[in-house]
Amino acid sequence: MLSLQHISKYYQVGGNKNFVINDISLDIDEGEFISIMGPSGSGKSTLLNIIGMLDEPTDGFHYFVDQPVHQLKEKQRAALYKQYIGFVFQAYHLIDELTVYENIETPLIYQDVKGSERKAMVADMLDRFQIVGKKDLFPAQLSGGQQQLVGIARALIAKPKLLLADEPTGNLNSKQGEEIMELFRKLNKEDGVTIIQVTHSEKNAEYGTRIINLLDGRVESSRKL
């Protein structure tokens, strides 16, 4: 599905290069569920952002569904990204001024999906996550677990092939976290969504099919479960 070859990201500080990602090469197949682990500052989030095309590497080659991302123009990259990738954040990042319904609907608006179609898709999603009753509430009126559920629903609404999650359970208690992880596993198994998550929790990492450990911007170990 995607392939990173000799990817580096560094900042020039004085005469020194300050590496965040140091020559990482990585292949990920469709249907994998990958957990990226590592201490703070090891480059987990940056790696995830590069995979998600939110951030650009300084060096290296990045292929996504056989397309050379490092050569694509902004517009093409955006189109690719919109079609294939969904994002889930630790801090949920729901838009405070929008209701649950509207939050979930937003990606579809940016993909120019027609109004009637949007309605059906959002209704479907609300149903699937059993949050129909909460559709008119604003994020501030929801618990953290519920907010993350909305965040995931929003990430999935456009039927992405790849779901990227940056510590999705970091702000949740263990029970809520478990529910989210169960949901991820189900998505991966039943819907075939490729998932890459960054996590600190060994337990949550175990839900995945492969665990990659980063240290100082390099892949320290990679093991399949």
Binding site: D55, A78, E97, L98, P107, Y110
Partner: protein, 817 residues
């Protein structure tokens, strides 16, 4: 998508009521200012658009040239000019002369019905017009026939308003009224037409038109004969054949003048240059002196327009500054939206949608404000401007367009700024306002305050000049002077008896009479020169015809020789009293040197000589816009236009009662009417007073909006620095140091504004002051005042927020982080 933008815009607005209020309030007021001024400009540029022939109608303008130097342009020509132009040039289809009843301050119009009480009215804006006048100009007649309205001698066309005053609902046509004019004599006139002057203003704001034939002016015109040089007093209008180029015709006029007026002009010692002024341009041509009605100054229109535009810009700046200052609050939304697939252009559209929504709300308020303030504005500007939904639909759409453009302008900078956020950075919460944005924000605040400071300086300078003009020593006693116009032959005849009667009264200091008095138009003038010189060296000298108590009554002081007085009973009209300026201009060296010398005038080949018996101190017979020029008093034995009574301090009401009783006794048929000389003099400053009023109101509005913006920024800055303030307080900072910490940045900006604005304001206002021959010059104290005012206002605005932040409990503010 648009719906979505408006929805989120609305929710954001409701969430931040304080910022929304500042923005909407500022934009509403700014838009309302622009709307009012747009209405005003619309009105001022609509003059004379009702005339169907307007594109082909021109007024003949005369520039007088003497010794190579040009005097002001005037719209006046001698009587035979119109006829000759029509005869000479086939492209001139029609000509018409118009003469204002220029000596009448008011004209007495009387109606004596067979059965009923006599009606006596004092009316202004009377004219003499040729019968061709209505062929050139479009007037909507409600009674009578336009084609032959002024054909017969002693016929009159009146406005609907005047007809209603005279006859109520009765028809006015064919009724005979008595018109008593100082300019045109006293006759009966038959009404041959009534016109409705409608809503569109005209530079000829006429109340009635008299036929030329039948009045005393007819004889005057006949005596003028073929003199094309002197008595330039008629307004001449030409209707040109469609397609005629006025420039081509104008190029032929020097030949015309040479042919018809060449010899006479040579005798009189000056030259004339004729030009053509298009009808629609007349109202906006303030370079032409003494036109039918006072023109609108283009400069004033530009000034008003700039002030309104600046007010709106200040409001836009508030929007920009508050939006970018609060950007950290929107940054995560931008980040999320970008992650969800929004492109930059989509986000720009979203933010523009929000600013447009805000201006649309402001637009609604602005319309309401405009409708509410229009009557007040009319009062301030002395206009009658209306705004109604059915009549001014186009205007409403123009206003709407203006609001939309404002929304886009105000929203564009924040939209580009906000939409450019990098999602990775903002979602990590690492957003700090970049130095560039902070610099732009500071720049914009400085710009706002520059405008405010310039406006403050302008208000102060204008107010000082107005005060100076009100209180300046005019060189004569202007207070306690009661002026009684002597409009009829009866009144003129009764003057001597009234004078004798009133002089018995102990409250009367002195009584005099004259043709004109300081502050009113002084149309009589002559080219006078020292004996031994020629007409070419003549100086235009205004002349006034007075009795032998007038100079004493006005307390005009002699510097050499003597005044006219009853003690010198042998004075005749060959003796003249001139002002110091005249003595100097004629070349007498000193006032004393002029005494008993002769000055001369040459008219149509005849020389008249006057002996100077006195020189008086210069006094202002015109308002302080104009310099004092040569002036002479001649003694007349009768036929005065005004009686002036100088009253001593005391009960004015009883004084006026006594005067009225005397008037009723000696001239029972004419209405009693009076004015105060100081009021009449002040009337010359109406345009300045209006400007002063408008500028000061707009200044207050501009400062208010600027301060609201500053208030918003200060509030935001205090909020942002809550934690810093908390830490500082815990470390032992006093309230005072924190207030100054928060205030000093903003104060620096205000001081910078004052420094930048001062030279700009000085330059602008100095230019404005040049229009006054006598002025109170700008000095450093004005800038000291202004700086103090600006800093004081700024301190209050910022200080309240700073104090609030400084007084907050640090435990609370630190916990909240």
């Amino acid at each position: 998508m648009i719906k979505n933008y408006f929805k989120i815009g609305w929710r954001n607005m409701m969430k931040n009521k304080f910022f929304s209020f500042i923005n909407i309030f500022g934009l509403s007021v700014g838009l309302a200012c622009c709307m009012l001024i747009a209405l005003y400009l619309n009105y001022e540029t609509s003059f004379d658009s009702q005339h169907k022939n307007a594109p082909n109608v021109y007024q003949v303008i005369t520039a007088f040239v003497q010794n190579g130097s040009k005097r002001m342009k005037m719209p006046n020509t001698p009587a035979p000019m119109a006829g000759a132009l029509k005869q000479e040039y086939p492209e001139v289809v029609e000509t018409a002369r118009l003469l204002k009843l220029f000596i009448d301050d008011k004209t007495i119009i009387q109606y004596n019905p067979a059965n009923g009480e006599r009606k006596s009215l004092l009316e202004q804006n009377g004219f003499l017009a040729d019968q061709s006048f209505f062929k050139i100009f479009t007037y909507n007649f409600t009674e009578g026939n336009v084609a032959n309205a002024l054909t017969n001698p002693r016929t009159i066309v009146v406005s609907k308003k005047l007809a209603e005053k005279l006859f109520g609902n009765q028809p006015a046509l064919s009724k005979v009224i008595h018109v008593n004019s100082n300019t045109n004599g006293e006759q009966d006139y038959t009404i041959t037409g009534v016109f409705d002057d409608g809503k569109v203003p005209s530079h000829i704001s006429a109340n009635f038109f008299l036929s030329v034939a039948g009045g005393s002016m007819e004889g005057f015109i006949k005596r003028q004969g073929n003199d094309y040089a002197s008595n330039n007093m008629f307004y001449t209008y030409l209707l040109l054949k469609p397609g005629t180029s006025p420039a081509t015709l104008q190029a032929k006029l020097p030949t015309f003048i040479d042919k018809y007026a060449g010899k006479d002009l040579k005798n009189m010692g000056f030259q004339k240059e004729q030009s053509l002024l298009a009808l629609r341009d007349i109202h906006l041509s303030s370079e032409v002196e003494s036109n039918v009605t006072a023109p609108a100054s283009k400069t004033y229109l530009y000034v008003l327009f700039s002030i309104a535009a600046f007010t709106l810009i200040i409001a836009c700046i508030n929007f920009m500054n508050l939006s970018t200052a609060r950007s950290s609050k929107r940054s995560s939304e931008v980040g999320v939206r970008k992650v969800l697939g929004a492109e930059k252009s989509t986000l720009i559209r979203q933010f523009l949608g929000e600013s447009v929504l805000m201006t649309l709300i402001a637009f609604v308020f602005a319309i309401v404000i405009t409708l509410i303030l229009l009557p007040l504005f009319n009062q301030l500007a002395d206009k009658n401007i209306t705004l109604s939904a059915d009549k001014d639909t186009v205007l409403f759409f123009e206003f709407l367009l203006m609001a939309l453009i404002t929304g886009v302008l105000a929203g564009s900078y924040p939209a580009f700024y906000l939409s450019s956020f990098n999602p990775v950075k903002v979602l990590k919460g690492k957003l700090t306002n970049s130095l560039a944005v902070v610099a732009v924000r500071k720049g914009l605040v400085v710009f706002q305050f520059i405008i405010s400071v310039v406006l403050i300086v302008a208000s102060v300078v204008i107010a000082r000049q107005m005060n100076f003009m009100r209180t300046a020593d005019l060189g004569f006693a202007k207070d306690q002077q009661i002026v009684l116009p002597l409009r009829t032959a009866n009144a003129k005849a009764a003057y001597a008896a009234m004078k004798a009667d009133l002089q018995q009264n102990s409250q009367v200091a002195s009584i005099g009479a004259s043709a004109y008095y300081p502050g009113v138009f002084n149309p009589s003038d002559n080219l006078l020169y020292r004996e031994g010189q020629t007409t070419a060296e003549g100086r235009r000298t205004r002349l006034n015809y007075v009795d032998n108590n007038f100079l004493q009554t006005l307390d005009i002081k002699p510097v050499a020789g003597r005044l006219f007085s009853p003690a010198f009973g042998a004075d005749t009209n060959v003796n003249i009293i001139i002002n110091e300026k005249a003595a100097k201009e004629y070349g007498f060296g000193s006032a004393q040197n002029a005494i008993n010398k002769k000055i001369q005038n040459n008219y149509q080949g005849n020389t008249t000589a006057y002996t100077i018996v006195g020189v008086v101190k210069d006094f202002h017979y015109e308002d302080l816009h104009l310099p004092v020029t040569p002036y002479g008093f001649l003694l007349n034995t009768g036929g005065y236009n005004y009686m002036v009574i100088h009253a001593k301090q005391g009960n004015m009401a009883s004084m006026l009662k006594t005067i009225e009783a005397s008037w009723k006794k000696y001239d029972p048929n004419d209405p009693f009417d009076y004015t105060f000389m100081d009021d009449d003099f002040q009337k010359n400053y109406q345009a300045d007073t209006r400007l002063a009023g408008i500028v000061s109101y707009f200044t207050v509005v501009a400062i208010l909006i600027s301060c609201l913006g500053l208030f918003g920024l200060a509030a935001f800055s205090a909020e942002q620095r809550t934690k810093e303030i908390g830490v500082r307080k815990v470390l032992g900072a006093s309230v005072k140091t924190i207030v100054s910490l928060l205030s000093v940045d903003f104060l620096k900006l205000i001081i910078a504004s004052v420094i930048i604005a001062s030279p700009i304001a000085w330059w602008l206002m100095n230019k404005w002051l040049q229009a006054f021959a006598y002025r109170k010059d700008i000095d450093w104290t004005i800038f000291a005042y202004t700086a103090t005012i600006a800093i004081f206002i700024g301190l209050i605005t910022i200080g309240s927020q700073a104090l609030k932040a400084a007084l907050a409990n640090p435990v609370k503010s630190l916990r909240s982080e």
